[in-house]
């Protein structure tokens, strides 16, 4: 029996997308498979690792613990939406580059989104608060020291850059730190590519979500 599909609208990085998805489509998979926004990474897929963290109406949530149908009509910001309007790195991305806050980069998108909201809510975190801010994200490479430094550096950069930085209504733009620039541009130019009936053929792909970027 064909699985029932639901028509939903998601606004991702400022662009509205109409999708037809089965109810069980995780938001992480809707972003990666249906919208080809592969900057959001899927690690544990049960809410522990934090790699898939995106901003839902500005607040960090685990995209693997939310169904796309359940957040219809809401605004999602992924790592691709964290760059500055001119395409340059956002303050958190810049800080990660400066402080060597990543090695393999797999966990990085979740850190970037979490910290973007974290320094918006607490623009001058103490060292302890910087550690607390990232306590829900796992990194198996860095040992966290440089990520904590990057939080503190990002807070400085964001303050210097003015309140408009940090990218919440920034739309689709390639992110040279962690997003997949070519894919993002492609989707931006052909917004209907993965929509409509085409999606139907992709339903069975849900079981084969890879871990790669």
């Amino acid at each position: 029996m064909a699985e029932e599909l639901h028509q939903i609208r998601l606004t991702v990085n400022g662009t509205a997308h109409d999708l037809r998805v089965p109810a069980r489509r995780l938001l992480s998979d809707a972003l990666r498979h249906d919208l080809a926004l592969t900057g959001t990474h899927v690690g544990c897929e049960h809410g522990v690792c934090g790699a898939c963290t995106v901003l839902l109406d500005g607040e960090p949530v685990r995209a693997c613990l939310v169904f796309a149908v359940s957040v219809q009509g809401q605004e999602v910001t992924t790592v691709e939406g964290l760059t500055r309007p001119d395409g340059a790195l956002g303050p958190v991305q810049q800080a990660f580059a400066e402080c060597h806050g990543l090695q393999c980069g797999f966990c990085t998108p979740g850190f970037l989104t979490t910290i973007t909201a974290g320094i918006r809510d607490n623009p001058e975190p103490t060292h302890e608060e910087a550690r607390e801010m990232i306590a829900g994200n796992l990194c198996r490479c860095t040992g966290y020291q440089n990520i904590v430094k990057a939080v503190e550096r990002a807070a400085v950069l964001a303050r210097e850059g003015g309140p408009s930085e940090g990218g919440f209504e920034t739309g689709l733009r390639p992110s040279s730190t962690t997003g997949d620039a070519s894919v993002v541009e492609e989707v931006a130019q052909q917004p209907s590519r993965n929509h409509g009936d085409d999606v139907v053929d992709r339903e069975d792909d849900a079981a084969t979500t890879g871990l790669g970027a």
Binding site: E3, E4, H6, P22, A23, R24, L26, D29, E45, H46, G47, G50, T53, L56, E59, P60, V61, R62, C64, L65, V66, F67, V69, S70, V71, T114, A135, G136, A206, A207, T209
Partner: protein, 279 residues
């Protein structure tokens, strides 16, 4: 992994939600989903239908008066934790909530959902029991109030009927002059506690609620027990369980350590509140 296929309903009224639940014995209710979705992803649960409450109006309020804190079914942990008024009227709620997972999970997870999920290792069920709170539930026959003491009947099991939906939880106010505290020990920050304890001290009354010690959130009355005997007195009322996270002996040791600690902190909190009222 991915969830098995399920039907999906997004009712616009509570009556529709209750009717849908009553009509499908395999259906489950979705609010925040931070406990349910991992179970679905790992295929430990496979409901026929999810009834998504997220479009229901008026369920996300945190309302506070001098009698206590009422938390709507769609109020996220983060919203409850952020309520200054809730913290003033019943501080134990915020004390415990800051131990619930990580902020990212608290942004989506709901306090009422955590209560009806009824995990004995979770913080909020024991807080509801310890504060003498209750749950408002709506079913086909109308609305009723379920006292916390009647709510938790087994691991992940409540006394709610299948066709009832929890609408709100009520945490009564902390009495003037009383103090509260919450302590837990987890292997990693944000993990489920190996053992956790909340305390309310009110004059001579000393009550401590334990989570993750046995299959149910358990409250022990330790009024009149000497400071040095608190841990052993609590253990006399508890049967610590064994699992892959900790042995029963280790849990007993954590009860011995945490009980006097949380009672002392609650006494200090009471003294602080009293000082502030007089000051």
């Amino acid at each position: 992994m991915k969830p098995a296929p399920f039907g999906y309903l997004r009712p616009g009224t509570l009556a529709e939600a209750v009717a849908a639940l009553a009509g499908d014995p395999g259906a489950k209710v979705l609010a925040g989903g931070q406990s349910l979705v991992p179970l679905l992803n790992m295929r430990l649960a496979a409901p026929t239908t999810l009834i998504d409450l997220n479009a229901l109006p008026g369920l996300d309020d945190v309302t506070v008066d001098e009698a206590g804190v009422r938390v709507g079914a769609l109020a996220r942990h983060a919203a409850v934790l952020a309520s200054v008024e809730a913290r003033r009227v019943q501080p134990l709620v915020a004390m415990a909530l800051s131990n619930v997972a990580h902020p990212t999970i608290r942004n989506r997870g709901t306090t009422v959902g955590s209560l009806v999920h009824a995990d004995a290792a979770a913080e909020m069920p024991v807080v509801l029991v310890l504060t003498g709170g209750s749950l408002e539930v709506e079913g086909p026959a109308g609305r009723r109030t379920v006292a916390a003491s009647e709510l938790f009947v087994g691991p992940l099991e409540t006394s709610l009927h299948h066709d009832e939906i929890a609408v709100s939880a009520h945490f009564p106010a902390l009495a003037p002059g009383a103090g509260a505290a919450f302590e837990e020990i987890a292997r990693r920050h944000g993990d489920y506690a190996l053992v956790g304890a909340g305390a309310i001290v009110d004059g001579d009354s000393v009550r401590v609620g334990f989570l993750s010690v046995s299959d149910l959130p358990t409250v022990v009355d330790l009024s009149g027990v000497a400071e040095a005997d608190l841990g052993e007195a609590a253990l006399a009322e508890l049967e610590p369980g064994d699992d892959i996270h900790a042995s029963a002996d280790y849990r007993a040791q954590l009860v011995r350590v945490l009980t006097p600690r949380v009672v002392a902190a609650a006494r200090e909190h009471a003294a602080h509140r009293l000082g502030r009222t007089r000051g």
